[in-house]
């Protein structure tokens, strides 16, 4: 069970209050019409699956219902940091 710090509620809660919503920092192409099939396909379907540091989008589903980002080690499950939407991670893979 992960013990997760919600940056909006400003306290730790149990994992079952949260949902992971996949990879963070995926920006929608500004001009979808101008995308090639490959670019659009990359945006829609292709996700990272690293062993090690991963930036994820989480939502405090049973709490404040806000989204936030988390940097987590997929191998050790260690949570390196949480940060709000719009902010950049300070812990990044080398």
């Amino acid at each position: 069970m992960l013990h997760i710090y919600c940056p909006h509620c400003a306290e730790y809660r149990e994992e079952d209050e949260f949902h992971c919503a996949g990879q963070a920092h995926i920006s929608r192409p500004l001009d979808p019409e101008a995308c090639s099939d490959e670019e659009w396909g990359e945006y829609l379907f292709f996700r990272k699956n690293p062993r090690g540091l991963h930036h994820e989008l989480w939502v405090h589903a049973a709490g404040c219902r806000k989204f936030f980002n988390m940097t987590r080690d997929t191998q050790s499950y260690e949570i390196k940091e949480v940060y709000k939407i719009g902010e950049q991670p300070s812990v990044v893979a080398e």
Binding site: H8, R13, E17, A62
Partner: protein
């Protein structure tokens, strides 16, 4: 293009958001989601002592306000309408007379008011609030339970993983969390007294769950 964020209160009120009085009047009996449980009879006939006391605060006005916590004009307007300022600290609440406000999220608050005053307060908000905001009367969607007694904390510990120790859950704190696989907004009113705002559709389930979970302590219904 009109900018919602820059609308004055008068401009905003002039858009005449369609609101209606959802309560027909005091002469017509309203039924809470736990009407079938008949707390009034249970309070008379049931046990008078036990570790858990349960009461329903039925038919209150539940108003969900969403606005910008950094907009000083909006904050001032709320204070003018309710006579008390929005709690801006995460997980905090304020109470003033018959009104109480719970922090739900950085831009959302749950305001409880007496049921028959709901429409009047909604109308005041429509006239007073400037800028981009949302006020929804969600009274029909939830109900309020008050759980107290010597074993109130132990019972809650069976339902939720939130730390209920007074150091981390002081009086006045409010959390939205999982409650016995359903959800609840829990506020500590006193050391041994908690308020649960629960979903209407889960109220019967939670009522059954509380009866089962309090078997070992004894359940006293108050009305």
């Amino acid at each position: 293009m009109s900018d919602l964020n820059n609308m004055t209160a008068a401009e905003s009120a002039a858009t005449k958001a369609a609101i209606m009085n959802q309560v027909p009047g005091s002469e017509i009996e309203g039924q809470s989601p736990l009407h079938h449980a008949d707390f009034a009879s249970l309070a008379q006939q049931g046990p008078k002592t036990g570790g858990i006391h349960l009461r329903e605060h039925k038919l209150l006005g539940h108003l969900t306000l969403r606005c910008n916590a950094e907009n000083a004009e909006q904050l001032a307007a709320v204070e003018r309408v309710l006579g008390v300022a929005l709690p801006l600290q995460p997980l905090s609440s304020v109470e003033s007379g018959n009104y109480s406000i719970r922090w739900m999220s950085p831009d959302e608050w749950l305001i409880l008011v007496p049921g028959l005053e709901t429409f009047e307060i909604e109308t005041k908000f429509r006239d007073a609030m400037p800028g981009h905001y949302s006020l929804v009367n969600s009274s029909g969607g939830s109900t309020v339970l008050e759980l107290s007694g010597d074993n109130a904390v132990t019972l809650l510990q069976k339902a939720t993983s939130v730390d209920l120790h007074l150091n981390s859950f002081p009086v006045g704190k409010v959390v939205s969390t999982l409650f016995a696989k359903s959800t609840a907004t829990i506020r500590r009113i006193d050391e041994q007294r908690f308020e649960l705002v629960i979903r209407r559709s889960f109220s019967d389930y939670i009522w059954l769950w509380i009866q089962d979970a309090s078997l070992e302590y004894g359940l006293v219904i108050e009305a």
